[in-house]
Symmetry: C2
């Protein structure tokens, strides 16, 4: 299906202000047409029970169609598609950056050159935009089933590379009707675990009578905003897509003008010198490969494992695959502060070896504290202790979310927004920006990293709906 | 000098509308305070004569501090800085793209990981913004001296890696005063010759009494606009920086809304599958290395050469370096068409092996015709013949410009804007967009390629000044 992009003969306004108005209305609407918010948890639990899934660790040798490639030792799929576990060598001239105290290191990394689609379908019911969320099983989710976008599909998925079923509703996204696109942007995923991976984050509207299945539900943004406060409920892909919603900026301005913010960002991107080179997995120094895991010699960072999955409502009934498992609970937190009456968050221009271009804007704090537990205080990431020691009275948002369950096994982090005790000059690499400025940047890729997008989705949803303000 | 980015305690508007007003005034002003436009050519000629430069081909063996590295055969500088000539292997799943008819090829490529600064200083005289242009010698310029930005410096330059003199006025740009930044963005250069090279394109304003030298001149945008019609006068770096000026959008809209344009672009970036891998120069298939040149077996595309330069007013008095020389005159052209009374140009989502992310927006036609001369008509790039055969009555802009004279030897292209004979549905990979939409995208990197930026700078300058409309 190739939609025609061509002339009605006349021009249209460049901005779709209408979208933002309707998003605000949806965010202010906490009762949806299909399900009460308090029933969503029960529904997810039902979906979990309706389809019995088993996920179990297996030795690498028990992987089906995955093998360690001769020569490189890379862990690859026999089709050459999906993803591969390779090696990465990172050298930073001015570090340390990333989730560790070193300026040079080696690590396994996920190489996934295909661009997948993360698409949420939107539709007005009773004049209010609702978003079609799917209760979806992913083998790495701690609770298996979470709310995902309507569609999440690698190109291999929807072109049927693995011989599974069709991806439901993919026809709304590949390609979308250009007159009904609200969001369509390539956004990067974790730069510490993926090498230059992007997915296409999309929100597309329809007036169709969309076919429904038991694992789909239409929710307003107000409902989703409430669910953002629940632990491990909205999956990473959904959070990422929702962060790109074009909310209005109601504030009178910001500490930095947009040009100043972009200039600061350009300076951050220019001043760092990071060389990240893909290497064979077998050449990754400091890691040991066992029968059931590839892990760091210090037991830190993460492990590469293999799992067997048996399910009943996924594209394929059973399969095996590698997953990454983190060694501890992560922390991703924004320090917040009102400046001139406008809420600001302290962003960090973070360097990660897997970023396409040196730095992206990250939360004030983003790390796995256990990786630093053995180190002296001065080697710990800036602001980590401020965040961990903040009294409940200064916590404006908190929930535990897990990362993408198709690649990560029980990788969870505490996502926080913490009121700063006082206003201060940001140190080099940090800047005070408004959530509206970050929202504007999500129209483009490679500005706001995936952890900051999760926090942005939570803050935007919370501040736009009336019951629980941030 | 670290400027303080911190709180006046209050917020400011996010948009600097004031900039666009003052840019419009400068574009409408065709008489500058320092020099009449018609005298600029004479001044450039004087600068050329005031400093005697010699550039001569030399054998690679006569290069000083440059050598073919053992093992890889890469052509590198002994400091490990500046740039290197390496190899590139490109495979496209759905090509051909780039400047040739193949889906898989090998080529030499320039690897320059350092981010340089291209900075133009701006200042109001008599209430009108003037821009400080430098008459600068670059060894690869066909006429040696052209108008360049106030500052063009690699990091090696301004940190004195080669032991030369300081870069004049660099203090305005590294870092800039955040309150005086008009443009500050990383933009990529030629994706067919560079591997992922970006430079920092900057315009910074000052009220200072700026010291002056004989090779600097303050010009209004109206003056620069007239000079854009002169062949080989405004150098590539200046064209690139000027393309990022935030002109107002006076038009009522565009054929595609901004969201639609970004969605189309996202689709273009997603649908292509390009694998570009750096390889040792010695492994580049189809190229032969001689005493004085590395060239393609068919005599097409480009050559790698070495030159010796002797000058007197550059950062260093004499030096040797490699340069790339093209095999023929290039063509870079936009087809244009008014839609609903608003001028649109036909952009091409072009794939190049050296792009950071798959595609950038390019002119409708961008190629070296000689590379296709031996091929049947159906293998020639789309729209090439429309552009080459357009009668003068349909040519809205034309000039010959040369590419960066610090890396390219006599690499020249005809830059054209040609009125399309009629309106048509763009084929896949092409879209009608307004110059204002492209201008908005130049706030961000990796959207508008360097050839399209040259055309955009020419079109914006021409349409904003009264004497010669496009």
């Amino acid at each position: 299906m190739q939609h025609c992009l061509v002339p009605p003969g006349t021009v249209r306004p460049r901005d779709d202000h209408d979208h933002a108005d309707r998003i605000a209305l949806s965010a202010a609407t906490t009762e949806g047409v299909q399900m009460r918010t308090e029933d969503v948890r029960t529904w997810i639990a039902e979906r979990r029970e309706a389809n019995v899934f088993h996920v179990e660790h297996i030795p690498f040798a028990a992987l089906d169609q995955w093998r360690f490639e001769g020569g490189t030792g890379n862990l690859v799929h026999s089709s050459g598609r999906f993803f591969a576990i390779e090696g990465l060598h990172v050298v930073e001239q001015d570090g340390p950056h990333g989730d560790g105290p070193y300026r040079e290191w080696w690590q396994p990394v996920i190489k996934q050159p295909e661009v997948g689609i993360l698409g949420i379908l939107a539709k007005e019911f009773d004049g209010v935009l609702h978003f079609l969320m799917q209760a979806k099983m992913e083998p790495g989710n701690p609770n298996l089933v979470q709310l995902s976008p309507t569609v999440q599909a690698t190109r291999s998925n929807y072109t049927k590379a693995h011989g599974g079923t069709n991806v439901k509703l993919i026809e709304y996204f590949a390609p979308p009707d250009p007159d009904r696109v609200i969001v369509d942007v390539l956004q990067a995923e974790q730069g510490s675990w993926f090498f230059r991976k992007s997915n296409r984050n999309m929100i597309v509207e329809t007036d169709d009578d969309v076919p429904m299945w038991d694992d789909f539900c239409w929710l307003t943004l107000g409902q989703i905003a409430e669910l953002m406060y629940e632990d491990e409920t909205i999956n990473m892909n959904a959070r990422s897509v929702l962060s790109c919603l074009p909310y209005h900026d109601e504030a009178p301005g910001a500490l930095l003008s947009d040009v100043q913010l972009l200039s600061w960002f350009t300076n951050e991107r220019s001043r760092h010198d990071v060389r990240a080179t893909r290497i064979p997995l077998k050449d990754v120094t400091g890691w040991k490969q066992g029968v059931e895991a590839i892990e760091h010699e210090d037991g830190l960072y993460f492990k590469v494992l293999a799992v067997a999955v048996k399910g009943s409502n996924r594209e394929k009934i059973s399969w095996t695959q590698p997953l990454l498992e983190s060694v501890g609970l992560g922390v991703a937190a924004f320090l917040m502060r009102e400046i001139g009456g406008v809420p600001h968050v302290l962003v960090h221009a973070r360097v990660d070896g897997g970023f396409v271009d040196t730095v992206e804007l990250a939360p004030t704090v983003q790390c796995t504290p256990r990786n630093y537990a053995h180190l002296p205080a001065e080697s710990r990431p800036p602001f980590l202790d401020d965040v961990l020691n903040a009294p409940p009275s200064r916590i404006r948002y908190e929930a535990i979310h897990s990362e993408e369950g198709g690649r990560f096994l029980n990788v969870r982090a505490r996502y926080l927004a913490v009121e700063a005790e006082d206003m201060f000059d940001p140190p080099p690499g940090y800047a005070w920006v408004t959530p509206a400025q970050l929202t504007a940047l999500t129209r483009h890729g490679h500005y706001v990293n995936v952890e900051a997008r999760t926090l942005l989705a939570c803050l935007n949803a919370a501040s736009a709906q009336p019951r629980r303000g941030v």
